[in-house]
Symmetry: C2
Subunit: 247 residues, 2 copies
DNA sequence: CAAATAGTGTCTTTAAGACACTATGCC
DNA sequence: GGCATAGTGTCTTAAAGACACTATTTG
C-alpha cells in the first residue's frame, strides 16, 4: 500500500489517496423562512452530476488552503462575501462510491449567516437561496441530500438548547425578532415569557439601545457578546399547543 | 489544480491530493477509571513520531475500506477484537502542517466498548489502556493531544444528557453499576433516586433478571434495547454536593 | 442478626409553560 | 385615542435534588 521515496517518509502513492473535498451548508433566515445556499454543478462531459443542484464546495487545494477550516471559509467567502459567520464542522462523509471520480471523502461544515434585505449574493449567478423544505425534496448531486438531512437535523436539534438562531440575524436585533428566528427554524411557536426569561438569563446578549421592530412599540436591540461560540441553555424547549410557527 | 486524463473526469492529480487517515478514540471503564486505548508509533527512520504514544489509526486503504466508517471499524477490530461497539464520528482535522508527511486530513471516530475483567487486548502488544487524565498529560504524536481533548470533552458533555455510559459496561448490568459508570465519566456523584427515575423513565433498558452486583442484595439486571443509538434525556444532570466520584 | 447494598417515598427546588396583564410607540 | 407590538407578573407543571426510609441478600 505504501511507496517510499528515498529519504522520505512512507506514504500512500498518489492514486491510492482518496480525493478530498470540503462542502458547506450555509443557512440563513430570509422572508420568514429558513433557507440555504445551493449551487448548480458545472456543465460538461468531465463533470459529474453536470447541471444538478449541489451544496457549495470543491476540492481541497493543498497549495492554497492551510487547513480544512480555512478551505471552508474560502468557499463561504467566494459564495456569499461573508467573513464572520458562525462556522462549525458537521462531519465527514467518505466512501468508494459516493463520487464517480473515485474514492472521495468530503469534510462538511455548516455556517449560519445573517442576510440584509436587498443585499444580493456576491458570488456567481449559479447560486441561490432555497428554502429548506424544497431543498430537502430536490434530487441533489452526490450524497448531498443525505448530508443536507444531517445538517438540518443537527441545526434543529441544537436550536432546542443553544443560541444558534441569533447568528441568523443581522445586528442589532430585538428579542421578538430573535424569537421569530427560533420559531422559523423549529417550525413551531414558543411562549414569549419563557423565551425571554431564558434568553436574558443565559447572559449571551449585550444591550444595544432601542431598535425599531416591524411595527408598534420600540424594542431593546441586542448584539451577540461572543460570536465565536453559541450559548448553551440548561434545558430544551418543548412544543406548545396552538398556531404553528412554520411558513 | 486539476489534471485531466482523456475520457475521465477532471480530478486533482496524485501529489495534489491530501493524505487521508482515520483515527479512533476507544473508551472503556476499567478498574473504576475511564480509560482509552493508546498505541506506540512504529520505530524507523521513515516513520514520523517514531516510538511516541498515539491514537490507533492509519491511512484509509481505498482497496480495502468501503467507507470511512468501515475503515474505523476495521481499526477497532484490529486493536480490540470488538465488533459491536458504540461508534460515532467526532470530526475531522486537516491542515498542511499537522503531519510531516504532507497535507493530511484525519477522520476521527470515537468508540465506547465494554471490557470484561481479565480479558486482554487481542491486538499487538504495542497498545495499552491508559486512564484519561494521564493520557491528556502525555505528549502524543501529531495533533492527537488536541483531538483527545475534543473527544473527552464531547464524551463528558454528552454523558450529561444521554445514555452513553451504558455502552461502557458488559451486559447485563445493574442500575448501581450504570450509575457508577456515569460517576466515573463525569467525575462527580449523582443522587441515586433522581438517577434511577431518569434511567427508567427514558425507556431504553430491558430487564434481564436478577443479577449479582459486587456485594449485598441482588439487583435487577438490564440490557440496552437499541445498541445503534443512545437515549437522550430531556434535561442535564447537575452537580451534587458531597463526596467526589472521581478516581 | 448485622452489614452491605438495592430500591422507594416525600418534600423541596428549578426552570419552563400558560396566560393575563401593563407599557409604549405610530397612525 | 386606538391599534399593534414590547415587556412583566403570577400561577401551574415537569423533572431533578435532598434525604430518609424500607427491602433483600450474604456472612
Amino acid at each position: 500500500m505504501r511507496s517510499t521515496r528515498p529519504g522520505a517518509f512512507a506514504v500512500p502513492s498518489g492514486p491510492e489517496r482518496p480525493l478530498a473535498t470540503v462542502d458547506v451548508v450555509i443557512f440563513t433566515v430570509m422572508d420568514e423562512q429558513l433557507k440555504l445556499l445551493l449551487v448548480r454543478r458545472p456543465e460538461g462531459d468531465t463533470e459529474p452530476y453536470a447541471g444538478r443542484a449541489a451544496l457549495p464546495g470543491g476540492f481541497v487545494d493543498v497549495a492554497q488552503d492551510a487547513s480544512l477550516q480555512a478551505c471552508a471559509m474560502r468557499k463561504l467567502r467566494e459564495k456569499t462575501g461573508f467573513d464572520a459567520p458562525y462556522l462549525e464542522q458537521l462531519g465527514s462523509w467518505g466512501s468508494a462510491t459516493r463520487d464517480p471520480r473515485g474514492w472521495c471523502a468530503t469534510h462538511v461544515y455548516f455556517a449560519l449567516v445573517p442576510t440584509m434585505p436587498g443585499v444580493p449574493l456576491s458570488g456567481s449567478a449559479a447560486s441561490e437561496w432555497v428554502d429548506v423544505d424544497s431543498a430537502l425534496r430536490k434530487r441533489l448531486a452526490f450524497d448531498h441530500g443525505e448530508i443536507l438531512m444531517a445538517a438540518v437535523e443537527r441545526l434543529r436539534s441544537k436550536v432546542e438548547y443553544t443560541s444558534l438562531p441569533a447568528f441568523l440575524l443581522p445586528e442589532p436585533f430585538t428579542l421578538p425578532q430573535l424569537q421569530r428566528s427560533y420559531e422559523i427554524v423549529l417550525g413551531r411557536a414558543i411562549d414569549k415569557s419563557a423565551f425571554r426569561k431564558r434568553m436574558l438569563d443565559a447572559q449571551f446578549l449585550a444591550e444595544a439601545g432601542p431598535t425599531a421592530g416591524d411595527a408598534g412599540r420600540l424594542a431593546m436591540g441586542y448584539r451577540i457578546l461572543d460570536r465565536e461560540r453559541a450559548a448553551v441553555f440548561p434545558r430544551t424547549f418543548r412544543a406548545v399547543e396552538g398556531p404553528s410557527g412554520r411558513g
